[in-house]
């Protein structure tokens, strides 16, 4: 059961931030109580990444060149898996309606949900991926670049994914539909993220790639919570 007492507000906390903190804390606590969710996402990543050499062949040079793209695509797919749960569980136990009625602005609450989602799935993905890249023989500094690019890119996935999750909450076949909707929208993140690692491996500057990733993150932070909030209200009319 998901009955968790909301954390008590600290004395000098403004209302909006309190709501945000409560949402993040609740979701994290739920995620910690169900480690299977996070672990299954990670295992999915590991399996998918391992499938590529099996399908393509063990030639080291080819694998080294493919590594950034493969790990990035696998990270995208793994994130899609956990996105459906973002609002679905809350819909079932009534928390979603409470969120909609709350005094805290809904975009802020959505931001909290996305942050918690990232902490529970995107962040672990970003931290584990360099180890997977070792399977592909990626050089150590390239592994570092891969981790940083994923650290910048996975929050965007969580944010844009929140829009998709909000649009499909309670809809038949939401899981696959969600991926269908979100994946085309996050193609730029994939391009710049994987491109950054490629550029680093080739020795050229990665500043442009990372600036663009950061710009996408800022754009997502500004635009995704209101869009997802609008979508949630539409779902509840």
């Amino acid at each position: 059961m998901n009955a968790i007492a909301l954390p008590l507000p600290r004395p000098a906390e403004t209302g909006a931030l309190r709501g945000l903190r409560c949402v993040v804390a609740r979701d994290l606590r739920l995620a910690l109580r169900r480690p299977a969710d996070t672990l299954s996402v990670l295992f999915f990543l590991v399996i998918v990444v391992s499938l590529f050499p099996l399908g393509i062949g063990p030639e080291p040079e080819l694998l080294r060149r493919m590594a950034p793209g493969v790990v990035w695509v696998a990270a995208l797919l793994a994130s899609m898996l956990s996105l459906a749960r973002m609002f679905a569980d809350d819909l079932q136990d009534g928390t979603l309606e409470s969120l909609l009625l709350s005094a805290t602005p809904l975009p802020l609450l959505v931001l909290g949900k996305a942050l918690a989602h990232w902490l529970a799935s995107g962040l672990p993905l970003a931290l584990v991926s360099p180890l997977l890249a070792m399977q592909f023989g990626l050089a150590p500094d390239a592994m570092g670049l891969l981790a940083v690019s994923l650290l910048l890119g996975t929050p965007v996935l969580s944010l844009v994914g929140a829009i998709g999750a909000a649009l499909t909450v309670g809809v038949r076949g939401a899981g696959v539909l969600l991926s269908l909707l979100v994946l085309p929208l996050v193609v730029p993140v994939l391009i710049f993220g994987a491109g950054a690692v490629d550029a680093g491996s080739a020795g050229t500057s990665v500043a442009a790639h990372f600036s663009l990733l950061a710009a996408l993150l800022v754009l997502a932070l500004a635009g995704a919570p209101p869009a997802a909030a609008a979508a949630l209200r539409i779902a509840f009319e």
Binding site: V171, L177, L183, P184, L185, P188, G195, G223, A231, I234
Partner: protein, 258 residues
């Protein structure tokens, strides 16, 4: 077409209120008239365009006769983008003003836009094979076109997945608006990706340096496609209006009269 006895009050003859046409049953006959006119002009333009493009425009020095594919490829690609913008615009209007006719029009635009995107990809592939040697080239424009097709499919899938039609309209509108913001980002990022990864910069968008008959033919074909799209989407809108407003007296009368 028999005159439709509507249940709305009669319009004073000398006044013209644009917003009156926000009512589906008022717009229904007007849509039919516009669709008919557009279809006729589209047919004429298509014949003219084909005559110019296939008959009069000279052979290209580098690509031979294969370049003639641009007379359908370019109009289809342009229409796919124009229709997406129109779809997002009307979906936004429907969302902001709770105007169901606007949302219906967005839903009517989507299949035609998707078809145009598919045509752009198909004709692009057929153009690429004789010119560049392969059916699929990860050219920046073709790849963006592919992603645009995915966005159309997403819009239609979301709309059909939600049972309540008005909620479907609004949710799809949010998706269309997010998409329209994303399209420039996607295009720019794909262009970046393309120039970085390709040794020889392959670009299917480099049409041959165009002689006047070529440009004329292409523009005439663009006009033909545009008016065809107008006609088809308005006819689809009429079908949607009948389907959704089906319980209203005026719609039932129409169906019986037909």
């Amino acid at each position: 077409m028999s005159p439709i006895a509507t249940s709305l009050p009669p319009r004073p003859p000398a006044s013209f209120h644009l917003f009156a046409y926000a009512a589906p049953q008022r717009f229904y006959p007007l849509a039919g008239r516009i669709a008919l006119a557009s279809a006729l002009v589209a047919a004429l333009l298509a014949v003219a365009g084909l005559v110019i493009g296939l008959g009069i425009a000279p052979t290209d020095a580098q690509q031979g006769e294969a370049y003639r594919i641009i007379f359908v490829h370019v109009p289809a690609a342009w229409m796919s983008m124009v229709i997406y913008l129109a779809m997002a615009f009307w979906a936004g209007i429907g969302l902001a003003f709770n105007a169901r006719l606007a949302s219906m029009f967005a839903r009517a635009l989507a299949p035609t836009g998707a078809l145009m995107a598919f045509l752009a990809l198909w004709t692009g592939a057929l153009w690429g094979k004789p010119t560049w040697g392969t059916f699929w080239v990860w050219d920046a424009r073709l790849t963006s076109e592919l992603l645009l097709l995915f966005l159309y499919i997403g819009f239609l899938s979301l709309h059909s997945a939600i049972d309540d039609v008005r909620r479907a309209d609004r949710a799809a509108a949010v998706l269309a608006l997010v998409g329209v913001v994303n399209v420039p980002v996607i295009y720019f990022s794909v262009q970046w990706w393309n120039t970085l990864h390709q040794g020889a910069s392959v670009s299917l968008s480099k049409a041959p340096s165009m002689a006047t008959p070529m440009i004329t033919g292409m523009l005439v074909m663009v006009g033909a496609f545009w008016l065809y799209a107008t006609a088809v989407t308005l006819l689809r809108l009429r079908t949607l209006i009948l389907a959704r407003e089906g319980d209203a007296a005026w719609a039932r009368r129409l169906r019986e009269a037909a």
